[in-house]
Structures are given as structure tokens and as C-alpha cells.
């Protein structure tokens, strides 16, 4: 089909005028898209923050691999390469007995009480950092099989709780997003159906004078696109504002030990995600609604 500025102007004009002709349904469509994207955005931000907290824990030294006491420091250090090759391990850090003792003493105020402690009472050890805390149990299991590793310690309670929360949030998010997506498509489809029903005579005339399906379809797709775009941009602005307010309150509330991830970190992917969903719901809904009018 030959494309022209003339024709684009026509599609745009028809799409915009249809939005105003069915202002109530258009408003409902925009509102449902805003609601959908706000809920989805909230879950995304929740997941991002949980991941950030979990990421923080991953960076902390949560696994300690103690070396067999009969191995020399040289032999103990040599185990580092094998530990680093273990699946899910991001990096390892060797700590000698002496360093371990220094750290231990440093953590206690009454340092004089430990003045006579012999470093040989302690073991050489590795701090092991993991890539994904969700697979830490497998990592621990694999590390225990390495010859020379006497014991492996990790405080998994908080990590497991956070991983569980992340899994639950992800699961709930997927279900809610799927339901809302279906509802949004339905509402958008009905908006366009109403528009096509009111204009069925016009569509019949279009067909009779030789309009191609794409010529008939484009004004409605334009309408869906505009509704989707308005809805997605409005929801993006609202989400940004609300999240900014909430992040400020969390920051000012000293009892909280966490800070929310700044919106700027996720602003670009969320923008494109919202725009894509707005486009998909708008244009997809229009396409679904129009099919029955384009068969002859």
C-alpha cells in the first residue's frame, strides 16, 4: 500500500475524533491501562528492591569454608582455584589463621581477654561470594565435596526468607499481570468494538468504494495506539511520583535499615516496558475488535 503524509494525517484525525466521540469508553480504557500498569509497576519495583537486598547479602561474606587444619597455608591457598571453579561462586578470598584471629579480636571491645589466644587454634578459611543466593544450598553441597574443605558455614535463614519472598512476589506478579493484561485487552477491544459498531455503515461504505482492509483498520489502530500511549505515559508519571514520595519517606524514617532503589535506576527499562505494553494493549485490542468487520 502506498503510504503518504496525506493518509497518515487522515488516520490520525479519524483516530483522535473517534476517541472524543466515545469519550467515556476512551476514559475507561485509559484508566484500566493506568491501573494495570501501576499494579504491574509496583510489583516490578518490589521485585527490584528485593533483588537489591538479596544482592547486598550476596556481597556480604555469608559463606565461610574452613580448611583442614593439617594443611599448610600454601596447600590451603591452593584450594582457592578449585573453590572459584564451583558453580555459582563469583569470587573467593583467602583468610589466614592470623587474619581470622585479628578480625575476631577486632569484633570484641575487651581485646585484652584474647591476648593469649594462639592463631593455630583457628583454621585457615575462605570467604566465598556467590552469584545467586537462590542456589546457595547446591553451592554449599558442592564445596563440601572438595578435598581439604573441612567445614562450610553459611547463615541461610535470612537469605532463604528473601528468596522465598522473591519467588512468591514473582509468582503473584505473573498471575496478576496475566489477569490484568487479559482485562485490559478485553476493555480495549470493547472500546474499539463500540467504535466499529457505531461506524459499521461507514465501514461498509468504505469496503464498497474499494478500501483495503489496512485502510479501514488504521484509524482504529491509531485510536488504540493513542489510548495505550496516553495510559502508559500517565501511569509512568504516577508511578514515578508515588515511588519518589515513598522512597523519601523510607529514607527519612531511621528505624528502617534499608534504602529503596532510586527510580532512576529502572526508569528507562520501565519506560520502554510501559510504552510497549500500552502499544500492545491498544493495538492488539483494536486488531481483535476489527476482525469480524473485515471478512468480506
Amino acid at each position: 500500500m502506498k503510504w503518504s503524509r496525506n493518509r497518515t494525517g487522515y488516520y490520525l484525525k479519524e483516530g483522535v475524533s473517534s476517541i472524543f466521540n466515545h469519550s467515556l469508553m476512551s476514559f475507561a480504557s485509559i484508566c484500566i491501562i493506568i491501573a494495570f500498569l501501576l499494579i504491574m509497576g509496583s510489583f516490578i519495583l518490589l521485585a527490584v528492591n528485593i533483588n537489591d537486598i538479596i544482592g547486598g547479602l550476596e556481597d556480604e561474606n555469608i559463606i565461610l569454608a574452613y580448611i583442614d587444619e593439617y594443611l599448610s597455608e600454601f596447600e590451603a591457598r591452593a584450594l582457592g582455584a578449585e573453590l572459584a571453579r564451583t558453580a555459582n561462586v563469583s569470587r573467593v578470598n583467602f583468610i589466614t589463621r592470623e587474619e581470622a584471629l585479628e578480625r575476631f579480636i577486632g569484633r570484641h571491645e575487651e581485646t585484652g581477654r584474647f591476648a593469649d589466644v594462639d592463631p593455630t587454634w583457628l583454621r585457615h578459611r575462605f570467604e566465598v561470594f556467590v552469584e545467586d543466593i537462590a542456589f546457595i544450598s547446591d553451592t554449599l553441597h558442592e564445596m563440601r565435596t572438595i578435598y581439604g574443605i573441612e567445614r562450610v558455614n553459611a547463615n541461610l535463614t535470612v537469605a532463604r526468607a528473601l528468596v522465598s519472598v522473591r519467588t512468591i512476589v514473582t509468582g503473584i506478579s505473573v498471575v496478576i499481570i496475566a489477569v490484568l493484561l487479559a482485562i485490559s485487552l478485553f476493555i480495549m477491544s470493547n472500546t474499539i468494538k463500540l467504535a466499529t459498531y457505531e461506524r459499521r455503515e461507514e465501514i461498509a461504505i468504505m469496503r464498497m468504494v474499494g478500501a483495503t482492509n489496512s485502510f479501514i483498520r488504521w484509524p482504529f489502530i491509531t485510536e488504540g495506539f493513542i489510548l495505550g500511549f496516553l495510559g502508559s505515559m500517565a501511569s509512568y508519571a504516577v508511578l514515578w511520583s508515588l515511588y519518589g514520595i515513598m522512597a523519601g519517606r523510607v529514607y527519612n524514617f531511621e528505624a528502617f535499615f534499608i534504602n529503596l532503589v532510586p527510580f532512576s535506576v529502572v526508569s528507562v527499562p520501565v519506560f520502554f516496558l510501559f510504552a510497549a505494553i500500552g502499544f500492545g494493549v491498544g493495538v492488539g485490542g483494536s486488531g481483535l475488535a476489527l476482525n469480524k468487520y473485515l471478512k468480506v
Binding site: M1, N6, A204, R207, G210, A211, T212, V296
Partner: protein
């Protein structure tokens, strides 16, 4: 040009609308298609405009074989045909100019082409003084003139008018028929479906009569002959 060869049409509910219809309408011809309700006139119109396909036989319209035509080509066939309906089928809320321009926009005409062509066609149907009026500000005859202008604006080689005078008084009906005759004299093939005997007789043109899905007469003054039989 229209050519129907031994055309049968049976609808899904079993209704046998056409039973071996054969006729040809050559380029530049003018003809009436007449017959009582349920005779098969509307089915022939639907076959010619591609709304239904023949069950058997061959329908050729402006070089397109209606049985073999691909759906993607249908719009291009329809651009060679101007269709006029009994109920005018104008778009409420659009002016005369916009209603006529609409048909040009559909085929991708530029604004410049539309601005040049539409006033010419509107003048041809005698509505130059009402070019900015909306359908509800026009009489039935004027609305039908707008519909004729819309059918003409893309310069089709064939005009099909389905009961174009059905909603008009006798004087306005004659005006419309004379207008269609004038269009025919300019070279456009015209097929008018009607059951208004006085008007058909008045123009003394070719008349194809159909009844019970069969052509029962075809020739000059055919409508008269059909009634006698």
C-alpha cells in the same frame, strides 16, 4: 463490462437464488435489471460487487473473474465500480464535499486531487450550491445525487444502482434516472436495478427481466413484455 454465464447461486440455508443466469452488459451500455421481490436481483448485485461468490457458473466484472479473484484484489475491483443504494448510505456528520471526498481518500488520492475533482463531480450532479451541507439538510433526491457523485468520483467504468429511486417521488426519480442516463452518455456502463415500470418504460432502454432466479426476457422494452407474459 459484465458477463454472467450460466450462474447458479444456492445460499447456505438452501435457498436457490439463481438458476442458470446468463447475460452480458458491454462497455458503455445502459440496462435495467427488473423483477419482483425475491427474484434474484439482489443476489446478482452481490455477485457483481463480490459480496457473495457464485455456486456455479462464471461471473466476470471489468475483467475480474469473481470466482477466482483473491480477497486482496477485491478492493481494486470495487474501485472500478460505483455503487448507488436505495437508502443513499451517506455518512451523517460529513458534508457533501466530505462524503464525496471520502471515496477518493479511500483510494489514496491526494488532497490536491480531491480539491480539484470533488467540486467538478458535485457540479455534475447539480449540487454545487449545497457542497457544504450535511445529509440531514438535504432532500431525498439531493441525497441520492450525493450518492451518485460519490459513485462517480473515482471515475468508475461501471455504475450499479440498486433501486436508486425507491425512496423518491416520481419527479425526483425521473431526474435521477436522467442523470444516470447522462452519465452513461459520457461513456460509463450503467446497470440499474428497479421495479418501477413507468420509469423504465419512459427511458426505452435495454431491460433484463428476472423471475424465480431465471432471466425471462432481455431486450428493448423488455419490462413491458415481461408483464404481459
Amino acid at each position: 463490462m459484465i458477463r454472467l454465464t450460466d450462474v447458479f447461486k444456492v445460499y447456505a440455508n438452501g435457498t436457490k437464488a439463481l438458476k442458470g443466469v446468463t447475460f452480458t452488459l458491454n462497455t458503455g451500455e445502459f440496462a435495467f435489471l427488473v423483477g419482483p421481490s425475491g427474484s434474484g436481483k439482489s443476489t446478482i448485485i452481490k455477485l457483481l460487487t463480490g459480496e457473495v461468490a457464485p455456486t456455479d457458473g462464471q461471473v466476470v466484472v471489468n475483467g475480474y473473474d469473481m470466482e477466482r479473484i483473491r480477497m486482496s484484489k477485491m478492493p481494486y475491483l470495487r474501485r472500478t465500480i460505483g455503487v448507488i443504494f436505495q437508502d443513499f448510505r451517506l455518512i451523517e456528520g460529513k458534508t457533501v464535499f466530505e462524503n464525496v471526498a471520502f471515496a477518493m481518500r479511500v483510494v489514496g488520492a491526494s488532497n490536491k486531487e480531491i480539491r480539484q475533482r470533488v467540486p467538478y463531480v458535485v457540479e455534475l450532479v447539480g449540487l454545487e450550491n449545497k457542497i457544504n451541507a450535511k445529509p440531514d439538510e438535504l432532500s431525498g433526491g439531493e441525497q441520492q445525487r450525493v450518492a451518485i457523485a460519490r459513485a462517480l468520483v473515482n471515475n468508475p467504468s461501471l455504475i450499479i444502482a440498486d433501486e436508486p429511486t425507491g425512496n423518491l417521488d416520481p419527479a425526483r426519480s425521473l431526474e435521477i434516472l436522467l442523470l444516470l442516463q447522462k452519465i452513461n452518455e459520457l461513456g460509463t456502463t450503467v446497470l440499474i436495478v428497479t421495479h418501477e415500470k413507468p420509469l423504465v418504460d419512459r427511458l426505452s432502454m435495454r431491460v433484463i427481466a428476472i423471475d424465480g432466479g431465471r432471466i425471462i426476457s432481455d431486450g428493448m422494452d423488455g419490462y413491458y413484455n415481461y408483464e404481459v407474459e
